[in-house]
């Protein structure tokens, strides 16, 4: 009975023999690789033939050819549905390459130009007494400056951000929480130069001198919203059941947050803070306004001008001599390595602290 009604309402089967069989023509597994090779070869060929100078154009032609060929071949050999599937997969691959190629090229250029003067001497000496257009000198004063300014900014902003996120997730209800969320969102969009000008105006009103601390305060303004956002997301991921389990044991709410909620999320929170650090480590504008820059080693962030890695890069590149270009690239490499090490440390902490599932 049921089968009759079903048959009546369904469209007629495609072939008299019922559905097509389970066995259909398939492209071999190496087909995508072959398509890619053919399109790259064609891209280079077309580029050479048309006399296009930019390799980027060659690459884009190859990418478009890859999409077109994989769709065409698949729809000819297999069917339309498979072709759409293959097209979507190919788009994902092309986008991945488009995203990765600039990154790799950036790392490659920085590495190849930066290693020229990067050595122990470079890392342990300042620019004191070195004229900008001559070789020699180093990045030590800028490295010290970056470490201290970023460290101070983290000390200021991590507790504020963490506590704000705890408030938003665990306590915040109603108008105040909505207002806090709104202003955190607004703060995320503050350009770094504006944060710098804000601290600069305070500095001028209060009659203070440029110092590492002033720069760190501007960096902290930039860092707080990032920390709040990432911590908030991590705290939201902690299952409510864990909070209830702890509450049902007669644990006060503040201890539940301190001993159960935050430890469960600590890996993600650390990663979030480290990413925020990585973001502000490359800021130049507030340093320019508030830390003033220096050629000398000043390890006291509370008094006097300091340098920092991004500032140093800008300064050296501005000099415009061969030696200063080399120093700028080496400092860029140091900055990238610094951020990368922070990232690795954060991942290590996240893995070490992550809830364990082993038996």
């Amino acid at each position: 009975m049921t089968s009759h009604t079903l048959r009546a309402t369904r469209p007629a089967p495609p072939a008299p023999g019922g559905r097509p069989g389970l066995n259909q023509r398939r492209l071999p597994r190496w087909a995508p690789a072959a398509t890619a090779a053919v399109s790259v070869a064609l891209g280079i060929g077309i580029g050479l033939a048309a006399g296009l100078e930019s390799r980027v154009q060659w690459g884009l032609i190859a990418a478009l050819l890859f999409l077109a060929i994989s769709y065409g071949v698949t729809s000819a050999v297999e069917n339309r549905r498979q072709a759409k599937d293959r097209l979507a997969t190919s788009v994902v691959w092309v986008c991945f390459l488009l995203a990765v190629v600039p990154l790799l090229s950036l790392i490659w250029v920085t590495l190849s130009r930066g290693v020229k003067v990067l050595d122990g001497y470079f890392l342990t000496h300042s620019m004191a007494g070195v004229p900008g257009f001559e070789t020699g000198g180093g990045v030590y004063h800028a490295l010290i400056g970056t470490l201290e300014q970023v460290g101070l900014a983290t000390l200021v902003s991590a507790p504020i951000g963490l506590l704000t996120a705890v408030y938003l997730v665990e306590y915040g209800r109603g108008a105040l929480a909505r207002a806090v969320t709104f202003f955190v969102d607004v703060m995320t969009g503050i350009p770094s130069i504006v944060a710098g000008l804000f601290i600069l105006s305070i500095m001028l009103i209060a009659g203070l001198q440029p110092s590492g601390l002033m720069g760190a305060l501007a960096l902290a303004i930039l860092m707080v919203p990032v920390v709040v956002r990432s911590t908030e997301e991590m705290l939201k991921l902690v299952p409510n059941e864990l909070r209830e389990a702890a509450l049902a044991l007669g644990v006060p709410k503040w201890r539940v947050i301190l001993k159960v909620v935050i430890p469960t999320a600590i890996g993600g929170i650390t990663t979030g803070v480290m990413l925020a650090v990585a973001r502000i480590a490359g800021e130049t504008a507030p340093i320019l306004l508030l830390v003033f820059g220096s050629q000398l080693i000043n390890s006291n962030p509370f008094d006097g001008a300091q340098s920092s890695l991004p500032f140093y890069i800008w300064e050296q590149y501005r000099v415009g001599s061969e030696a200063s270009y080399d120093r700028a690239w080496a400092a860029a490499l140091v900055l990238i390595a610094f951020v990368m090490i922070l990232n690795l440390v954060a991942r290590g902490i996240a893995r070490w602290k992550a809830p364990k599932t082993g038996r």
């Binding site: 209800r173 299952p239 059941e241 864990l242 909070r243 209830e244 389990a245 702890a246 509450l247 049902a248 044991l249 007669g250 644990v251 006060p252 201890r255 539940v256 001993k259 159960v260 430890p263 469960t264 602290k353 809830p355 364990k356 599932t357 082993g358 038996r359």
Partner: protein, 258 residues
Amino acid sequence: MAKRIDVSGLSAYYGSHKAIDDISMTVEPRSVTAFIGPSGCGKSTFLRTLNRMHEVTPGGRVEGKVMLDDENLYGSSVDPVAVRRTVGMVFQRPNPFPTMSIFDNVAAGLRLNGSYRKNQLAEIVERSLRGANLWNEVKDRLNKPGSGLSGGQQQRLCIARAIAVEPDVLLMDEPCSALDPISTLAIEDLISELKERFTIVIVTHNMQQAARVSDRTAFFNLAAVGQPGKLIEIDETERIFANPSVQATEDYISGRFG
């Protein structure tokens, strides 16, 4: 120290929605009381009002009186945190703390309350794990994470965690619904042992389970979806299952509706 619970005129709300209406009942000490009834009839909500967990839900609020022996849990000078130390709870899904080892999970209640002596801790943990019939299975891996245990073991770990703080009453919200029959049997045996020391209230969808483990059974029902749940009757389990005094109870138990 098992205690008697005396509920009178209790209603619970989620915001403006009334979830349970005017419930009065007595839960006897050193016995197992089972709550049965269709989904959404307010069994779990009612259970959570017995240790003031209901108000943890945003918008949750309660009217009425819950007397634990001679103290009103909803008295104006009562600290909900103190109530939850006296009335423990085991949840539907096993929820061991993922950052803690088996030992730390059981010790969590004492440690987080700060109410223990260090040299007693190991002893209390062993006693609680033995109490939950889990000691022999985990004694060699107390430092391993609690989330590495099987579902049934995790649930017994949660029971050990709940009894480690020596509550007077133990509330169980469908403790076996996520477990296989063998683990369920282990928990049911455990409940029969625990009732020597605690007052136990258990919510269950499994009527055989209610018949097996409980001394008294309460049947909850609701008139229609969106209406508040009500207590239909509470009586000795044998009478509820053999000869209930309300027709709706008999219909529900014999599977004639729902």
